[in-house]
């Protein structure tokens, strides 16, 4: 009896392990064989984040009705890029993905998205910066619908005029602090581990750069700007603004409290993006938006340009329809306006921008603040920048020596870039 039981268990264990092992092998092959096997459906699946899913719904339904197909919108609330890559690989991904343009490098190296051929007329209807952002290795990967960039939001009751330079800003901030009208000079989020996205404008103004560009205008991963003399000089300037210097940059100001500190009237200046305006309005603060000022005699403080994009998934089951939706439907202003209403970021389509400019005076100001914004590098090597750059920033803000800090960061970054 006992022996037989053991036999049954052993046999079923073997069976299951075998199934598991085959399932494993199947996963590897599935991505290659699946699309053809399950293509026969007039269905378009779109993945977007929660807010945009809701805004997309009516348009997706309309597109579905006009074309006699079903359009499914699925909200992916977290880690959209990883979710998309993993699902694509397994053959269970969407046909159209909505996400940030700086995913492009990683999505392309994983063979997850297809280029999108835009006509010249369509290209000229989209802001030049946005087109540049979605161009990677000479190809356009997706259709941009909204842009975003940092700007300087200021409390006009505390600081009526926009500062022309960082030095002006610091002087005004110090004065307000001395008069006890504010407790902080500037709300620029850093945290204990720094924030490369928010500190980049100052870094650029002080003469630093991240990647050089190749002849074709793409970012060049081999030309790393961190560790170059310009970057060391820039970190010196950040250090001078830091806790041991002016006290304008502080590690205690984090992504969680930066906007709240501004709306609590504890600081007159906030470096943030269009997403902050909702909170500022709610707090009833009189505000204005202007470009981030640069250092006196320095370069322009160019923020990063981020572009929200519709992608066509390479492993989607319905690529022809996905291409049709993305190239010929997303490029219509109505959709861009609806997405703007879901979350106020300047539309990338010039026609849509003109349409909503009237209802929202902030839009033109954001566009002005991002006039010379440079596209956030989409090359995979950018992943190597974020953490070491941020940590170096936090270290110099805390008073560490700039040269050794930047050189250590440069070493870490270049060792991660293949």
């Amino acid at each position: 009896m006992r022996i037989r039981t053991a036999g049954v268990i052993a046999a079923s264990m073997l069976c299951l392990a075998g199934v598991a092992a085959c399932g494993d092998k199947k996963d590897d092959k599935a991505a290659g064989s699946n699309p053809s096997a399950a293509a026969a459906s007039g269905e378009l699946v779109i993945w977007a984040d929660d807010k945009r899913s809701a805004a997309l719904k009516p348009f997706a339904d309309k597109f579905g009705q006009e074309n006699g197909v079903t359009v499914k919108i699925q909200a992916i609330s977290k880690d959209q890029q990883t979710a998309f890559l993993t699902a694509s690989q397994q053959g269970s991904g969407p046909d159209v993905m909505v996400g940030a343009h700086d995913w492009i490098g990683n999505l392309v190296q994983n063979g997850a998205i297809d280029p999108v051929q835009l006509s010249d007329a369509q290209k000229s209807g989209i802001q030049a910066g946005a087109i540049k952002a979605i161009t990677f290795n000479g190809q356009t990967y997706g259709v941009p619908y909204a842009t975003e960039n940092l700007g300087l939001i200021r409390n006009t009751e505390l600081a009526p005029t926009a500062p022309a330079t960082i030095e002006d800003l610091v002087a005004t901030g110090k004065k307000l602090k001395a008069e006890k009208k504010a407790s902080e000079i500037l709300c620029l989020q850093s945290g204990q581990n720094g924030d490369a996205y928010h500190s980049y404008p100052l870094y650029a103004s002080a003469g630093g750069y991240l990647f050089g560009t190749t002849a074709s205008g793409d970012y060049d991963a081999k030309d790393l700007g961190v560790g170059k003399p310009g970057s060391i000089a820039a970190f010196e300037k950040l250090r001078a603004l830091g806790e041991k210097g002016d006290g304008a940059l502080k590690r205690s100001i984090t992504g969680d409290n930066s906007i709240a500190t501004f709306t609590g009237k504890k600081c007159a200046f906030l470096v943030s993006g269009p997403w902050a305006t909702a909170d500022v309005k709610k707090a009833g603060i009189k505000y204005d938006i202007s470009p981030i000022p640069g250092f006196k005699g320095g370069k322009e403080a160019t923020p990063f340009l981020g572009v929200q994009t519709f992608y066509v998934a390479s492993k989607g089951k319905n690529k022809a329809l996905a291409q049709e939706f993305v190239t010929n439907y997303v490029t219509t202003p109505d959709l861009a306006v609806a997405l703007y209403n879901a979350e106020p970021r300047p539309p990338a389509l010039t026609a849509a921008l003109e349409q909503v400019k009237g209802q929202d005076p902030d839009l033109a100001k954001w566009a002005d603040a991002g006039k010379n914004a440079i596209p956030l590098p989409a090359i995979p090597a950018m992943a190597a920048i974020w953490e070491p750059f941020g940590k170096a920033e936090a270290a110099v803000i805390g008073g560490a020596e700039a040269k050794t800090t930047v050189e250590a960061a440069a070493k870490t970054i270049s060792s991660s870039i293949k």
Binding site: C15, A39, V69, D114, S415
Partner: protein
């Protein structure tokens, strides 16, 4: 009554189901059995179709054998022990053994960003990505047409030049002028019909002198050219404009040019022990490994020990009969345990903020808690203490109540003081009961990713080393290495997790051995 008396006296364990199978088949039991077995069969059928369509005959056979085996096992009245053991065994295989085996098999590959798929997929991706519009070419309006049935008939592109109005029809042989839009005998596919043949349309190309006309969606077409082509004979990718050649390297899973440049799209290959040797030889890892390991042990021991001592202290205090409002205290003490630790960790992080944090504001001090190595370590341990002691309090309370009062009374008779009684009697008995929990708590804290990642993210980091911080555990440190700068490297991460598994396993085995020795002494 009579059956019991007359039953075989030698049988120590009566097994009523076995001797009288009819008795267990109540209607409810039978229904549950039918439903469960039905679900089993349904699952098997659901799993069988993809296996069959993917032609995985071995997998299908195994599936059938397993299902048949399970059906036999639960339909026959025999094999009672197996009936109880098999479900547990199945769950053990699915949730324990399979993930471990999968992790181990991943550790021998270069699976990660840029190396996710197969070589064929990489080649397709490279070729698709290289199709560019022929400069200055016309953009056409497109209709997808067929002469036959819309669902199966051979496809063709009906394209219109918007400038000249010229209508042409194109198929694999090339373009020819069309008489009519659409010409007689041709049907235009609507979007639904076209999307059902999506793959054919996407792959369809009408050859032209400069390249080929391809679809951009269902209503536009463009003339494009694939700049890069794969040559199976030489196993390499050639760029037709620059003439550059990238040769396939099946050890690296990438196309590599003579000058060392590699194409971004690679594929997954077996790399043998490369990930393991990298863990052992990579200078960035070895440089900080020992420091991180020591802190990891300090963190895990201090977290477990601290919470245990505090929890036990509270439990003993609340055992005392002189204590009033015991119920209230017990509820208050369990509160931190009832709150989601995920949110609490973030709240604690903000409480340690230098300028805006509650702790500095209440105490009127200005300590950069998370900014210097020592204070950050103290801070994370404090958070761990707060989060963890209610659990230890609960389990110790339970264990204390299980210690018979006679033992404590006996120590009093022997003239021992309360401390001596605790040390000599209660604590050893507690430890016998709680050691397994302490060991598992240690193993959990050794890999307590959230506790570090949500509070300090491993920081503070020395200015000259952004890859290893003062509160980094092995798991947060290696997470940064595997998923930080170079994108996700699952193969490498799997190799690291095997090493961490070995460390924790060794510690646990040693501890359990010692516990067993202790049990023998005290029981």
């Amino acid at each position: 009554m009579t059956t019991q008396l007359e039953g075989p006296a030698t049988r120590a364990l009566p097994a009523p189901e076995e001797t009288t199978p009819e008795r267990s088949t109540t209607t409810a039991g039978l229904l549950v059995k039918i439903v469960l077995l039905g679900l089993l069969v349904a699952t098997a059928v659901w799993a069988a179709f993809p296996l069959a369509s993917g032609e995985h005959w071995v997998g299908l056979g195994i599936l059938l054998a397993t299902t048949a085996g399970l059906l036999y096992l639960y339909i026959t009245p025999r094999h009672i022990p197996a009936k109880y053991l098999v479900p547990g065994t199945i769950f053990l295989i699915i949730f324990q053994i399979f993930p471990v085996l999968y992790t181990a098999s991943t550790a021998f590959t270069n699976f990660g960003d840029g190396h996710r798929g197969t070589k064929a997929e990489a080649v397709t991706a490279i070729q698709t990505a290289s199709v560019t519009r022929v400069p200055g070419s016309t953009e056409y309006q497109l209709k997808i047409v067929t002469e036959g049935d819309p669902a199966t008939g051979a496809l063709a592109f009906l394209i219109t030049d918007p400038k000249s109005g010229q209508v042409s029809i194109g198929d694999a042989d090339g373009l020819k002028p069309a008489d009519g839009n659409p010409p007689a005998g041709w049907t235009v596919l609507n979007a639904g019909q076209a999307s059902a043949r999506s793959k054919e349309i996407t792959d369809f190309a009408v050859p032209t002198a400069a390249g080929a006309i391809r679809s951009a969606g269902l209503s536009r077409a463009y003339e494009g050219k694939a700049v890069r082509a794969f040559d199976p004979a030489t196993d390499s990718i050639t760029d037709t404009t620059s003439g550059k050649v990238w040769k396939a390297d099946d050890d690296e899973g990438a196309f590599i040019a003579a000058d060392g440049e590699r194409l971004a799209q690679g594929w997954k290959v077996d790399v043998g022990f490369a990930n393991f040797t990298r863990v052992l030889t990579d200078e960035t890892i070895s440089k900080d490994f020992l420091r991180t390991l020591i802190w990891d042990f300090i963190f895990a021991i201090a977290s477990t020990g601290g919470t245990f001592v505090l929890g036990m202290f509270c439990a003993i205090a609340l055992q005392s009969n002189r204590m009033r409002f015991k119920g209230f205290y017990r509820v208050a003490m369990v509160l931190p345990y009832a709150m989601p630790s995920f949110a609490m960790l973030l709240v604690w992080r903000d409480m340690f903020n230098t300028d805006f944090g509650l702790i500095n504001n209440v105490l009127g001090i200005h300590v950069d808690w998370l900014g210097s190595a020592f204070s950050a370590q103290i801070a994370v341990l404090l958070v761990q203490l707060w989060l963890g002691y209610p659990y230890m309090f609960l389990v110790t309370t339970g264990a204390l109540q299980a210690i018979p009062g006679e033992l404590t009374d006996a120590t009093k008779v022997d003239g021992a003081g309360p401390f001596q009684a605790f040390r000599a009697v209660k604590l050893p008995l507690l430890l016998v009961a709680l050691s397994p929990l302490l060991i598992s708590s240690f193993a959990f804290n050794f890999n307590n990713f959230n506790a570090i990642y949500l509070t300090t993210e491993g920081g503070p980091f020395p200015a000259d080393n952004p890859s290893n911080g003062a509160t980094d555990l092995l798991i947060t440190y290696t997470y940064r290495l595997a998923f930080g700068g170079s994108g996700a490297q699952y193969g490498f991460a799997a190799a690291i997790s095997i090493f961490i598994f070995l460390i924790v396993a060794v510690v646990s085995v040693v501890s359990f051995r010692r516990t067993r020795a202790q049990e023998e002494v005290y029981s």
